[in-house]
């Protein structure tokens, strides 16, 4: 049944599924402790990933956030945050793309696949 179903998916759908599945696993390893399994964050300490407008508007700089970390003031979901997120500079571009595919298609977000080439193109948070 699965085989029949998969054979009906085209290659871009397969890519998306592959990115999403790997991204979920990476999210559990690297992000979930702080951002929670449902992306809700933690009080005013850790911002949620459920602000779909933020995620859309900052889409291009998300790889930099994940890779280099971020420090300082930030408004997410209408609430101010002023903490520090450590970077994940050991993650390969394709892994960052996978985790972003998961995040930008979970918790209310629906942006489609996050291509690996967009990760390399990111050179600064803002």
């Amino acid at each position: 049944m699965t085989a029949v179903y998969s054979s009906c998916q085209d290659s871009s759908q397969l890519n998306y599924a592959w990115y999403y599945a790997n991204g979920k696993q990476l999210y559990e390893q690297h992000c979930q402790n702080c951002h929670n399994a449902d992306g809700s964050g933690l009080g005013a300490l850790i911002p949620p990933l459920t602000d779909t407008v933020f995620m859309k508007e900052r889409s291009g700089s998300l790889p930099c956030l994940v890779r280099d970390g971020v420090k300082g003031k930030m408004i997410v979901g209408g609430k101010p945050f002023d903490g520090e997120m450590p970077g994940n500079n050991k993650l390969a571009d394709i892994d960052i793309a996978a985790v972003l595919t998961y995040v930008t298609n979970s918790f209310g977000n629906k942006q489609g696949i996050y291509e690996t080439k967009r990760v390399g193109a990111c050179v600064g948070v803002r």
């Binding site: 402790n33 702080c34 929670n36 933690l42 009080g43 005013a44 300490l45 850790i46 520090e84 450590p86």
Partner: protein, 214 residues
């Protein structure tokens, strides 16, 4: 005949109700037998490990000693505010305990920072506020490196340590330690495991009942 079956039914009910005894929590830690003289006779009594006197500063820079916990049950843990690994999970779970027993004058929570240099009381205050904690039912305390590390390992049996290679610079276990009104250890629960934290919340009810019934 009918009377007899009623009698059996009654017996059955009694037996069932007797087997459903109140659950009692174990007493953990070291213990030593002592001899003492009661009414002229020598008897053996047991002294259980108990949390000794301590003195820390809380998030409001108010001195907190063991006396603040007299007549209360409490849950203790060890964390640091810049902890990128298990602490957010622990305190997300501790929040559930807090919400459950909020306002209960017989229950307190006690989080010790293991980062004495960075986590001054003002830093702890910011952390607590951002977590949504007001008042002093949940104390976030600062003490000297030695005093906190000693009480962690000797009294609460929680391993903590400085470790440059660890994320954030410290390693520590995520135990939530349940302490009774006599300051004895009555349970240890993995603060990163939602199932164990649910068990803790239930066990706190058992402990409150046990001690109130005395």
């Amino acid at each position: 005949m009918a009377q007899r079956s009623v009698l059996y039914l009654l017996l059955l009910i009694i037996t069932v109700s007797c087997t459903k005894q109140e659950r009692k929590l174990p007493i953990l830690g070291n213990r030593e037998p002592v001899e003492k003289v009661v009414d002229g006779k020598t008897v053996i009594d047991t002294i259980y490990q108990a949390v000794p006197a301590f003195s820390f500063l809380n998030q409001d820079s108010v001195r907190v000693t063991e006396q603040a916990f007299n007549g209360k049950i409490y849950v203790a843990d060890f964390f640091f505010t810049r902890c990128p690994s298990i602490c957010p999970v622990m305190h997300r779970n501790m929040l559930k305990v807090y919400e459950k027993y909020k306002g209960n004058a017989s229950v307190k929570l006690l989080s010790h920072t293991i980062d004495a240099i960075h986590d001054q009381p003002s830093v702890l205050k910011t952390y607590a506020t951002k977590l949504g904690i007001t008042g002093d039912q949940w104390e976030f305390v600062h003490g000297s490196h030695d005093s906190v590390y000693t009480i962690a390992e000797k009294s609460y049996l929680v391993a903590v340590g400085k470790e440059a290679s660890a994320p954030g610079g410290f390693i520590h276990q995520g135990w939530f330690v349940l302490v009774d009104k006599q300051k004895r250890l009555r349970g240890a629960y993995d603060g990163t495991d939602t199932k164990q934290v649910a068990q803790l919340i239930e066990d706190m009810g058992v402990l409150l009942n046990e001690e109130d019934g005395k």
